[in-house]
Amino acid sequence: MEGKDNHTTDVIIIGAGPVGLFAVFELGLLDLKATLVDILDKPGGQCAELYPEKPIYDIPALPTVTGQELTDRLMEQIKPFDPTFHLGQMVESLAREGDVWKLTTDEGVELRAPVIVIAAGGGSFTPKKPPIAGIEAYEGKSVFYAVRKMETFRDKHLVIAGGGDSALDWSLNLQPIVKKLTLIHRRDDWRAAPDSVRRMKELVAAGKMELVIGNITGIKGDNGQVEAITTDKGDLVCDRFLAFYGLTMKLGPVANFGLNLHENLISVDTEKFQTSEAGVFAIGDICHYPGKLKLILSGFHEGALMAQEAFRICRPNQKLRFQYTTSSSDLQKKLGVA
């Protein structure tokens, strides 16, 4: 089956954090096209998700740069190479198919390339479970930690928990289609875009949704079907519960790719940053070799060396020529500056 997003390219990069993004640049200088897959709905990885506003002080030549600024600058730097992004998708499997690798995402997208680069940092971001005893019995039935299909919530009595952008955005997006909506958060203090908070409060003032400032104490229900979320402000009757308690990182399906691992990290050589499978590379925080340092700058270096071998695999009949961006008119043309 050939879906519209299915395609074949030179290199597929798993993870669109700073190291995955810079790898696009190094591959691009060698005329290799890259496609990136990331479970987050935006590029930047940990820099964008965990600390967009925190300054980083150890990026060469940038005495101080925030996680988001670094992401934005890398996006600008790789723009000439026009990479394809598959965001909000998790890589589920990797299999050899003749001369190429076939990678399948949880949305059923099939991508093929002779080279795979795992730049997945600390692993894939997955939702944190709320600290509610017995909630596992309801997960995937009436309790969710992410919205995959909005229809799941149509005409339902929905309770949303959390005080960040996800809780606010989904309150605003789902309010028009649910029967009743209650948002519960511990304090009247929000880690979300001020405009979203303002719009939520307008809906509350207009009687279109309810806001409860309180603490969740438990869950009531039967056979996976939630009937109420219990709180110190009384029971919130509902038949769907959405909890947004932030994200944590787990190695995820990468652990099942059959690669040699070293304590949840992928073992690579330090010449090509290749894993135990030819054509599969690992760079950045997720790779391991003697002396490895989990620094963004180390990941940049690893990406540059990986790209040399990726070229040899993708273009076996062409000669690899090492050139500098300062002097090569060929590279400058690729960068759009010549």
Binding site: Q46, L50, Y51, K54, G122, K128, K129, P130, P131, G163, R186, R187, D189, N215, Y245, G246, T248, M249, N264
Partner: protein, 105 residues
């Protein structure tokens, strides 16, 4: 200057600490099982420790962000703290902490 850390398996470790270091960084430096996935940004709760009661009065109280993160952790107790928010000082020489199960990598 010392930090006395008990890991999730009940093993006691006496760690040499450095003034001004975050306790999370000292635990990590000695290779104790602590995830600390956000790297000290006070935006996860994977450096969660229990501080021995007698040391609590010597600590700066938690900021609201730290309280929020601890409230969302599964194994929070009244003496829970995020070790990235605890800076070593002479006053804390000998502080005893126990690593929470939820901080395991």
């Amino acid at each position: 200057m010392k930090v006395i850390a008990t890991d999730q398996n009940g093993v006691r470790h006496e760690l040499e600490a450095i003034e001004g270091w975050r306790i999370m960084e000292i635990l990590r430096d000695y290779g104790l099982p602590i995830k600390a996935e956000c790297g000290g940004c006070c935006c996860c709760a994977t450096c969660h420790v229990y501080v021995d009661e007698k040391w609590i009065p010597k600590l700066y109280p938690p900021k609201p962000e730290e309280e929020d993160l601890l409230a969302d952790a599964v194994d929070t107790k009244p003496n829970s703290r995020l070790s990235c928010q605890l800076l070593m000082s002479a006053e804390l020489d000998g502080i005893e902490v126990t690593l929470a199960e939820s901080a395991r990598p």
